[in-house]
């Protein structure tokens, strides 16, 4: 695997292994992965169920620290970090987006979004301001005081992304972010992630949907706990990226569009390039 000198690697995995069970029942969910991820990459991890995608993501997100091998985050071996320090890194550097949104059901939207800020130690006023701002950016300003169950799936996932981003993390880990969404909502979510990528964030996304890999700058497929294929290429600095945001035309009215255009956009994702042509 080639290494670049220019941008320092954010994540370096060396001979990473993760096993479940003991003795005869021992099973390696991750069986020796070497991986270097540069700053500003948008990585899509694909692979069949049970190949260790989610396990890998959990390890990258410091949720699972009982691993063999070496995991270096920003040049620091994770092994040497205390639990407290790891929690701190999760708070400052990493944003999680889950397939099932994982909003706290008894908190309203703005409280959900300001949840990560609590552990950063911000005052309630500062939290509300920041959360409100990011919700506006995601066109959810009017939904601030809704409860999660009052939102559509797409809206919930956008709240979840807003929550993942409110701490301004540099790494975003997304575990099948569109897995529970219809194709139109998926498209919107992917646009948001793509936008973040443009801004220079590192995004690592696990997905089952091959169509979504078009958004990624690098696609990794896994099989039985090992990396099967990797379309590694040198990442381009974000502002010179060849990729252009796909939906600036749609974005301002995305809120209403969610429902209004569902019918027309039934096949949006599959025929995305075509739609783009029509739009332009």
């Amino acid at each position: 695997m080639a290494k670049t000198e220019t941008p320092p690697p954010v994540i370096v995995l060396k001979e990473l292994k993760k096993s479940f069970g003991v003795g005869d029942a021992e099973h390696f969910a991750i069986d020796g992965i070497d991986l270097t991820i540069q700053k500003g990459e948008f990585i899509a991890i694909m692979g069949p169920s049970g190949c260790g995608k989610t396990t890998l993501l959990n390890i990258l997100g410091l949720l699972d620290s009982s691993i063999e091998g070496d995991y270096e985050l920003d040049g620091v071996s994770v092994d040497s970090l205390s639990q407290r320090k790891q929690a701190h890194i999760r708070s400052e550097r990493i944003g999680f987006v889950f397939q099932s949104f994982n909003l706290v059901s008894r908190l309203n939207v703005i409280d959900n979004v300001s949840l990560p800020l609590i552990y950063k130690g911000l005052s309630s006023m500062a939290r509300a301001k920041k959360a409100s701002k990011i919700l506006h950016d995601f066109h959810l300003g009017e939904r601030e005081f809704y409860m999660p169950y009052q939102l559509s799936g797409g809206q919930m996932q956008r709240v979840a992304i807003a929550r993942a981003l409110v701490n301004e993390p540099s790494i975003i880990l997304a575990d099948e972010p569109t897995g529970n969404l219809d194709s139109h909502a998926s498209h919107i979510i992917m646009e948001e992630l793509s936008d973040l990528h443009q801004k220079g964030n590192t995004i690592i996304m696990v997905t089952h949907n091959p169509d979504l890999t078009t958004y990624a700058s690098r696609v990794i497929t896994m099989l039985d706990g090992k990396i099967d294929t990797d379309t590694f290429r040198l990442p381009l600095p974000a502002r010179h990226s060849l990729k252009r945001p796909l939906g600036p035309v749609e974005k301002p009215k995305s809120k209403k569009a969610t429902k209004a255009t569902t019918k027309t956009a039934k096949s949006t994702l599959a025929k995305k390039p075509k739609i783009k042509k029509e739009a332009s």
């Binding site: 929690a87 701190h88 999760r90 099932s100 008894r106 609590i118 552990y119």
Partner: protein
């Protein structure tokens, strides 16, 4: 850290609100425990001050002489409570009365000889009716009020008696019993006075004056086969300043008449109240220990509910951890929630306890007392219970594996 604390409190409030009934029932356990402890403490503090305030009310110039040396162990003081039925022979004699009377600054000396025996008027009194043989000075020393007639007088016929109002009602059916004849241990006495109602069944004389009959010391000695048996000698000095010197003088004088044997004790102020205070403290201690059991039950209830709450919110814990909460944050969140339950129950219990104490005190002769110690005890107990029984669920919450927690219900 302060901001986090405010947030945890906000969180706890929200969680308690969303499970209103469950939280309320959990709090009731603590409320009952704290209420019973508060009631007991408030009432016993009230009872404690009775004897003390009686001594103070008499002007602080009273000292009493009792047979038997003072013991330093508080447990002994419990058994040292002199009762009219105590069997120990008294070491105090008529000579002691005389030598105390002769001391300077002593204005009144009232020996108390309490006898048991049948007291009969129109009907027979309870067999435990105290017959108090004393001198006229008792009126001065104890500031006894007379509602009708007069107190004992040396110049009168020795076969005269003064009667307490309650005893008068018990045996004659009226408080106006002057001139009637009362039979004490077979001898007939004419009633020359009725005392004012004192309503002090617990006092340093260990005699309820309301239901006692008073006769002269000489007559009492005769009823007791001619032997004098003094429970106590009450001494009044002419001023508070001279009390110290009077006590010293009494000690010296009695030591001389008792040939250097310290078989008596001279008590003043708080010392007089001590044996009865000790008794109340012991009673209160035992009751509090029993009430503490209900607190433990309440604490187990809190622990139970917190475990349920942790199980219910496993997913939330996972989310919070993924978003950057450290184990400490999770522990703090759940401990504060259990503290909110126990302190809420404790405050409720404290108020309920005082309400109860006041209701109970309407049937008693003393009022409950609110002291900072009791407030502190009630709040302290609830904090301790909340922390103690909240710690295990909180640690369990913090130890949850975030991945497993996030996978729940998926």
């Amino acid at each position: 850290m302060r901001i986090l604390l405010a947030n945890h409190i906000h969180n706890a409030r929200q969680s308690i609100k969303s499970n209103r009934l469950r939280s309320l029932l959990t709090m009731v356990g603590i409320t009952i425990g704290v209420a019973s402890i508060t009631t007991i403490l408030a009432l016993s503090a009230g009872a404690n001050t009775i004897v003390r305030s009686q001594v103070d009310a008499l002007g602080g110039n009273i000292t009493i002489v009792r047979p038997g040396a003072v013991s330093n162990s508080s447990l002994d003081e419990l058994s040292q409570l002199t009762t009219p039925t105590q069997f120990e022979a008294s070491s105090l004699t008529a000579l002691d009365i005389k030598s105390i009377q002769a001391l300077p600054h002593v204005t009144a000396v009232a020996p108390l000889m309490v006898l048991g025996g049948t007291v009969t008027g129109d009907s027979e009194a309870s067999p435990r009716t105290p017959i108090v043989a004393t001198t006229p000075d008792l009126e001065l020393v104890n500031n006894i009020g007379i509602s009708e007639g007069q107190f004992l007088d040396d110049t009168l016929n020795p076969m005269t008696a003064v009667i307490g109002p309650q005893l008068s009602i018990d045996i004659f059916g009226t408080e106006h019993s002057i001139g009637k004849t009362v039979h004490i241990k077979g001898a007939s006495f004419t009633i020359i006075g009725v005392l004012k109602r004192q309503n002090n069944p617990v006092n340093y004389n260990n005699v309820d004056f309301d239901s006692a009959v008073f006769i002269a010391l000489g007559a009492g000695t005769n009823l007791n086969q001619g032997s004098l048996h003094l429970q106590q000698i009450n001494v009044q000095s002419d001023s508070v300043e001279h009390l110290e010197s009077v006590i010293t003088d009494i000690n010296k004088a009695l030591l001389k008449t008792h040939f250097g044997e310290v078989d008596f004790s001279v008590l003043s102020g708080a010392q007089i109240a001590k044996p009865s205070s000790q008794l109340f403290i012991a009673i209160a201690g035992v009751s509090v220990a029993i009430a503490a059991i209900s607190l433990i039950v309440g604490g187990v209830g809190i622990m139970n509910i917190m475990l349920v709450s942790v199980a219910e919110r496993t997913r939330e814990i996972g989310i919070r951890k993924a978003l950057g909460a450290s184990n400490g944050d999770i522990v703090a969140q759940f401990i504060i929630e259990s503290l909110a339950l126990s302190v809420g129950g404790g405050v409720g219990g404290f108020m309920l306890g005082y309400a109860l104490a006041f209701i109970i005190s309407t049937f008693l002769t003393f009022d409950p007392i609110i002291t900072w110690e009791i407030v502190g005890t009630a709040i302290g107990i609830s904090v301790v219970i909340g922390t103690l029984f909240g710690i295990y669920p909180a640690i369990r919450a913090a130890r949850k594996d975030p991945i497993a927690a996030l996978r729940q219900y998926e």
